[in-house]
Symmetry: C2
């Protein structure tokens, strides 16, 4: 019986041995901005029972007017989640997570919890300080635009994107993790799968170090480039073309969002920033030499970009089209059975490869 181990977890039909593609629980999303709103759209489109809370009444009304099951009453939403044993998705800015955990602990004490916040160590610490580690599996979809709010949300936003799923609790409990946590982990993985995203396992600190490099540093560099270009006055802005447009795109993100992600991941970000400053200082040295040269940086940068293109499946055509997310992933794939012996080692192996996983 190859699938016997997780039968109670995975929803395999005992008769036909086909994995149930639907989630076993309703999904309750707290915060319906770009990410939370897009997730709600995907879940509804997939026929899942999903509902949400939005702090702003006007945002909630807007979503409701489009036919979504949305409320601006947090307490009643959480009571409902408790009643129907929903999986709760925290999709608020990082600053609101602490208060959300307070409310969840009080009003939805039985629900499993995941989140979509862009830093994971700080959220995991908050979860731990609330004594909720056994009910939490962290998540982070690597998708977004410079726009934010429900109005920016869209079905299919996560298609092909990386969606990190964390597993620190399995290590922190030294293998003695509860079966309910494994079940929760599986449910979160299946929710991710339903959005078309690719499931990338990572521990919280490895995640934070990686996103400091590929998500937070890009914002600092974009802001910097925007300011230096602007310092050049009208002529500079008139001459700005594709390289400036693309290099400053994410500087159009609301400053509060940029601050939220960068300031809560400051330790990892400083490390990445120091590497960047050192490379730029070396380039400066090369440029002020008698025979100016930036050969080293130009070569290294080119090779790195080519490696990234190979990894992301970003071919020349997609590069030109500026596709929002890649549909052909270059990420390696590992298959695993949640809760089976050795599965946590498999997760660590996948993390080291940047691999996506398929669960069965």
């Amino acid at each position: 019986m190859p699938h016997s181990y997780p039968v109670s977890v995975v929803g395999i039909c005992h008769t036909c041995q086909v994995i149930n593609r639907f989630l076993t629980k309703p999904i309750c999303i707290l915060g319906l901005g770009l990410i939370g709103g897009s997730l709600l759209r995907d879940l509804k489109a997939a026929g899942q029972l999903a509902y949400g809370y939005n702090r702003s009444a006007s945002g909630a009304r807007h979503a409701a007017s489009e036919g979504f099951d949305v409320s601006d009453d947090l307490e009643s939403t959480l009571s409902r989640a408790e009643t129907d044993e929903a999986l709760i998705v925290i999709a608020t800015p990082i600053g609101a997570v602490d208060g959300m955990l307070d409310k969840i602990k009080e009003l939805a004490p039985s629900c499993g919890i995941t989140d979509v916040v862009s830093v994971k160590s700080q959220v995991y610490d908050l979860v731990g300080s609330h004594g909720l580690a056994d009910r939490y599996v962290g998540g982070h979809p690597m998708a977004g635009t410079a726009d934010s709010g429900w109005k920016a949300s869209q079905e299919g936003l996560f298609q092909g994107a990386a969606w990190v799923i964390t597993f620190d609790h399995a290590l922190d409990t030294h293998g003695a993790v509860s079966s309910s946590w494994v079940e929760l982990w599986y449910e979160v993985a299946r929710m991710i799968k339903l959005t078309g995203a690719e499931i990338i396992p990572s521990r919280v600190d490895h995640h934070d170090a990686a996103v400091a490099r590929v998500s937070h540093l890009p914002h600092l560099l974009a802001e910097t480039l925007a300011v230096v270009g602007d310092n050049g006055g009208a002529l500079s802005l008139s001459l700005a073309a594709g390289s400036f447009r693309d290099g400053t795109r994410v500087a159009g993100t609301a400053p509060a969002l940029v601050q939220g992600m960068c300031e809560t991941n400051s330790e990892a970000l400083v490390k990445a920033l120091d590497e960047a400053i050192e490379l730029l200082a070396e380039a400066r040295t090369g440029l002020t030499a008698k025979r100016p040269s930036i050969a080293e940086l130009a070569d290294a940068g080119y090779r790195s970009r080519i490696r990234y293109e190979a990894r992301s499946g970003l071919g020349a055509a997609q590069q030109d089209a500026h596709v929002a997310t890649t549909s052909v992933s270059g990420r390696p794939v590992l298959r695993l059975l949640p809760g089976a012996p050795g599965w946590v080692k498999q997760l660590i192996h996948a993390e080291s490869l940047g691999a996506r996983i398929e669960v069965f």
Copy 2:
């Protein structure tokens, strides 16, 4: 007679007073890469007599097989240009300009010259040292992709793009500039107009300072980001999404091209780079504070990006679509009559506004 001054120059029809939209001379393009090749395509499509030289025989054959008038024989091409009084466009990398000027001086001693090289001071110095300043008007189209070579060239590449036209010679001669130079300036402006680009006047040093900020610095930052992301290994590359993709796009440019533009504009680039390093160092200070904050950079970067979007006519829709060039320019417009009293002052005024000009 409002148009009497430049009649011999502008090609106004004496009968109908309509400006001749065609160029008065054939165009001879030296170097048929992305820029030179795209210019040749535009000119042919507009019904202009245009032909070119390409160093690589295979590139020349490729262009010829598409029906273009192209040779890999520089000497015969320049002799032909001299015979039919062509306007010569130098579209080679900066490293080849010195040798081209030698050959032009020898084989096409009567032709007017412009160029499309991405730095202008160094080219202007080379032109001066060849004694060709009275036959030269500099140019630089702000268009391109990460790809290069004839195969990357395309009709319409310059549509809506800024195309700088220089005018230092008019100042260096203290207003005693020759009528043949004014005629050349006009011809270059009309060639630019024919491609659909917007004509932006600038002195060579102002141009170089501006492109250091908005074109060369973006390359250094993109290379740096690519390397720091790559340093994070497989997980980082797996998690890289839109901000990393756009922020590293131009790191995919051939290193030799990046070196060519950055190393020949090192003085202006170091100034821009120093501003960038200082902003990043300030951000680092903010991130290592007891209560980490990057509020200053996030706010300044956001405001700068919004100003740039307004200037470039880059609305939300175009931002999403990642249009190659903007079709609705936010640049102010000045009209001027080349050679008329005060026209050089008008050019300086336009430069200070980053304005595009219309010639009449």
